[in-house]
């Protein structure tokens, strides 16, 4: 099966110029630093007259102070609401008139902007000029800040009525306690209302720093052009010459916790989980492969089989890891009509407990390996997907051979290694369980 990796990158192999290719990389990722220290990852491909890029910073929701929750997200949004001598409307109109898409990128760890544009000179130069100005010279107009605060508060108020939002928020609070990973990007009603323009300006100055930035680029550009682009996008940003501030460590759960939130929706929303894995976790591949069997493999996975196919309890039932700089969540999620919430919960719990105790069968493990390895080409079959991987490899300092190594590492894992990782890392008897459901359920 290892032969799979030899033809995975067929479509890109032709692009690999002898001088530009590092000896180890099948996907020809080029890497360098800008003059002021931003990390750049680039893949050159001229198949389509377009390019995709992103500039990411360690400025996600986990960088919010608890009493200013929502600040990181608001700062990012406001950057496109006025920059240099351009108003919000001018930025929007100039992007639209060249058909370019500039979009916010935001999660617990990262915040930044992505850009998709045609590579023809006019479109390319104009879109890059706008993005560079947004990144380097945001003006944060006070009236727009107030408008966006009001819109966020309204959206949060609406969200308070949604069972899936209530479940997710309770889950994060119980799994992460006081840790920054308990925070949601949009913030809370009582924190967003208090945010001031000074908060935004200070957050921007502190976090949008050149030598903490990752620039990921793929498309119809030469190395020389990509290099000039990376400089243009970061040249006006300060360099700190110090490492990114560390987040406090994530604490493992000490005991099981169950939280029930009453809600009149027809379906119960059930979440089960705990802190999961880091991006650079030694158990990453073993847990990822095992999860393919448990609940990450769609219709072929156990949770789907037990909850949906055998019993008809739910339309969707799955498990996932969200690997982050620190231990992002491991979560099992399902929705079922309120009256059968308890039965469905029990099936999910039993399926998990059994999986951790016994592990997958050899047959299940082989099937999961075949899926991941045989389907690896699908993970990188478009510029957009490759750009997403470049951003992850750059931001989390993964090896440039990450994508080449991936199927190889999966292939090498034994049944015992997968069982062992799950037994060491996943604790069915001290997990968080959240049930948002009507009173009929209990």
């Amino acid at each position: 099966m290892t032969s799979a990796s030899q033809y995975l990158f067929k479509g890109l192999a032709g692009l690999c110029l002898a001088a530009a290719c590092t000896a180890h990389a099948t996907l020809p990722i080029q890497e360098w630093q800008t003059a002021n220290g931003a990390r750049v990852l680039f893949v050159e491909t001229h198949d389509l007259p377009m390019f995709d890029l992103a500039v990411d910073f360690p400025a996600g929701a986990s960088r919010d102070l608890r009493d200013k929750s929502g600040l990181a997200s608001l700062t990012l949004e406001l950057m496109r609401s006025g920059a240099g001598d351009m108003s919000e409307g001018e930025i929007a109109e100039r992007l639209a008139s060249i058909g370019a898409d500039m979009s916010e990128r935001f999660d617990l760890d990262r915040a930044g902007y992505g850009l998709r544009s045609l590579s023809s000179a006019r479109e390319r130069d104009e879109s890059l000029k706008i993005l560079a100005t947004v990144l380097q010279k945001p003006t944060f107009p006070q009236p727009i800040l107030e408008r966006e605060q009001q819109r966020t508060l309204a959206a949060l108020k609406e969200a308070e009525s949604r069972p899936e939002v209530l479940a997710e928020r309770e889950f994060k609070h119980l799994v992460y306690g006081q840790h920054p990973y308990s925070q949601r990007g949009a913030g809370e009603l009582n924190t967003v209302a208090k945010l001031q323009r000074d908060d935004v300006v200070n957050f921007y100055r502190q976090h949008y720093v050149a030598d903490h930035a990752t620039v990921s680029i793929i498309g119809d550009l030469t190395r020389k052009e990509a290099s000039a682009i990376a400089e243009l996008l970061t040249v006006g940003l300060p360099s700190k010459s110090q490492r990114v501030a560390l987040l406090p460590p994530v604490q493992q759960l000490k005991s099981a916790q169950l939280s029930r939130i009453p809600h009149p929706a027809t379906q119960a929303h059930i979440l089960i989980g705990q802190p999961g894995i880091k991006r650079l976790d030694p158990d990453y591949f073993a847990l990822f492969l095992g999860n393919q069997v448990l609940g990450g493999g769609g219709f072929a996975s156990r949770l789907n089989e037990e909850i949906r196919q055998k019993r008809g309890y739910a339309y969707s039932a799955y498990s996932y890891f969200n690997p982050l700089a620190l231990e992002g969540p491991f979560q099992i999620a399902l929705q079922t009509k309120s009256e059968q919430a308890e039965q469905a919960l029990k099936v999910a719990q039993d399926t998990l407990a059994n999986f951790v105790a016994e592990g997958p069968t050899q047959q299940e493990l082989d099937a999961a390996k075949q899926n991941i390895i045989g389907g690896f080409a699908l993970r990188i079959d478009s510029n957009k997907k490759i750009q997403d991987y470049l951003a992850i490899i750059g931001f989390y300092r993964l090896p440039l051979t990450y994508l080449d190594d991936f199927p190889v590492k999966i292939e090498k894992l034994t049944l015992e290694q997968v069982k062992d990782a799950w037994r060491r890392r996943i604790y069915p008897d001290r997990m968080v369980t959240v049930i948002v459901a009507g009173t009929e359920a209990h």
Partner: protein, 424 residues
């Protein structure tokens, strides 16, 4: 059989499209098109229930299916060495499907959960569902694709089987393969697997025309939510003749002028300048087997009402008709159309999707480029003309969400100080 070559990556998308969707259903069995889609994963004489999905997964693939008003389609995404496997499995379930009562009963529970999740617990989806049932008195677009809950509760295995026997035949299907393949290989394998299947003549389809609307229709939908919402739908034509029609293209450009980007009118005027709405959208899809609708909707900003939002949306229509659109606006929409056509080529899945959809709704499968050229030819005067002709009250249905907040006693407890909690 249609093939679109894309050799950038060694992957393929295989799709089988059936020209049968919820618009082909009859009263009392709404949802059967979608239910049959679910049953297609429940086994054949030679492939047991669940084995289709497991086989594709072992081959490194992803697979699923979707049902619309107009069609039902099944797809696999795979390494290009697995073409034969996908075609063999799809051909098998085109004519050898099992209909087991216990599988049907369980899957119906799954579908009812899907309905709860997508519609019953989603206030905007409820508004949309009830609006469609009001917009159309006669045309089958009035029923939800997933079906009314009552029809799901009463559906029989025989209904699903009858649907299958009526529509699942090679001469009512299109095979689409996109990706790193040679067309000849696809045609050979397609002939091998599908060529031997028996063809049946599907029943004649009767033309169903919605009687003309004469007078505005209004409904109020109460649902559990915090914020109100208003949606408006105008009857509009679908694209029928790619070369000679012009109104659908003008309506598509009009939709782009109102809501194609952050620079478009609704966002600029209603959200940013007037602060009457927290969001405002326009939408028009010209690609349908049946008639089209031109939608507008919005969520009022704090202190504003749905009446304020409706008035502001109507004012935008009045301005379109009285003052027309600027050349800059027109150029912006056209630039986006041009760019979108290039961006679409980055996704093999999207390319297959587009071809299959065009063919299935009855337009030339290769007419995408022509459609883009026709969009580029739309004039400001045409945009104004279609606004004047179609965005009129006699053509309009307005649906308002009257939000029903959670009862006070049942409100979830607020999280103090941004959710600080120290239970561990």
């Amino acid at each position: 059989m249609l093939v679109k070559e894309d050799h950038r990556s060694p992957v393929i998308v295989t799709m089988v499209w059936y020209r049968a969707g919820s618009m082909d259903e009859v009263s009392s069995t709404t949802g059967v098109a979608h239910m049959l889609e679910h049953m297609m994963f429940k086994g054949t004489k030679s492939v047991p229930a669940g084995e289709f999905s497991r086989t594709i997964a072992r081959a490194g693939g992803r697979e699923n299916a979707f049902t619309s008003h107009d069609y039902t389609a099944y797809y696999q995404q795979l390494h290009n060495s697995k073409l034969s496997l996908a075609l063999e499995l799809e051909a098998d379930r085109m004519s050898n499907l099992n209909f087991a009562q216990d599988e049907f009963a369980r899957e119906m529970n799954v579908v009812m959960e899907e309905r709860r999740s997508r519609t019953d617990d989603n206030p905007h989806a409820q508004v949309h569902e009830q609006m469609m049932a009001t917009v159309y008195m006669a045309h089958p677009y009035r029923t939800p694709i997933i079906g009314w809950m009552n029809d799901l509760q009463n559906m029989q295995l025989a209904d699903a089987r009858a649907w299958y026997e009526k529509w699942y035949t090679p001469n009512n299907a299109t095979l689409v393969v996109a990706g790193d393949v040679k067309p000849d290989d696809v045609f050979k394998l397609g002939e091998k697997y599908f060529g031997a299947l028996p063809s049946r003549t599907p029943p004649a389809r009767k033309v169903q025309t919605e009687p003309p609307q004469a007078g505005i229709k209004r409904i109020i939908v109460k649902a559990q939510a915090e914020l109100p919402y208003v949606a408006m739908a105008y009857h509009a034509p679908s694209l029928r003749d790619v070369e000679h029609d012009w109104e659908p293209y003008a309506l598509a450009v009009l939709s782009g002028i109102l809501d194609g980007s952050d620079a478009s009118r609704l966002n600029r005027e209603l959200v940013r300048k007037m602060r009457v709405a927290d969001s405002a959208n326009a939408n028009y899809d010209m690609l349908n087997r049946g008639p089209a609708l031109f939608f507008l909707d919005g969520v009022p900003a704090a202190g504003k009402t749905v009446q304020d939002v409706e008035a502001a949306l109507r004012e935008q229509i009045r301005l379109l008709v009285t003052e027309g659109v600027s050349n800059d606006e027109l150029m912006r929409v056209k630039a986006q159309v041009t760019a979108a056509q290039v961006y679409a080529r980055d996704s093999v899945y999207y390319q297959a999707m587009r071809i299959g959809m065009l063919q299935t709704i009855g337009l030339p499968y290769d007419s995408s480029d022509l459609q883009v050229r026709k969009l580029q030819q739309v004039t400001a005067e045409q945009v104004r003309d279609v606004a004047r002709k179609y965005l009129v009250d006699d053509n309009l249905t307005v649906a308002v969400l009257d939000p029903q907040p959670l009862p006070a006693g049942k409100r979830p407890r607020p999280n103090p100080e941004g959710g600080a909690r120290d239970q561990r």
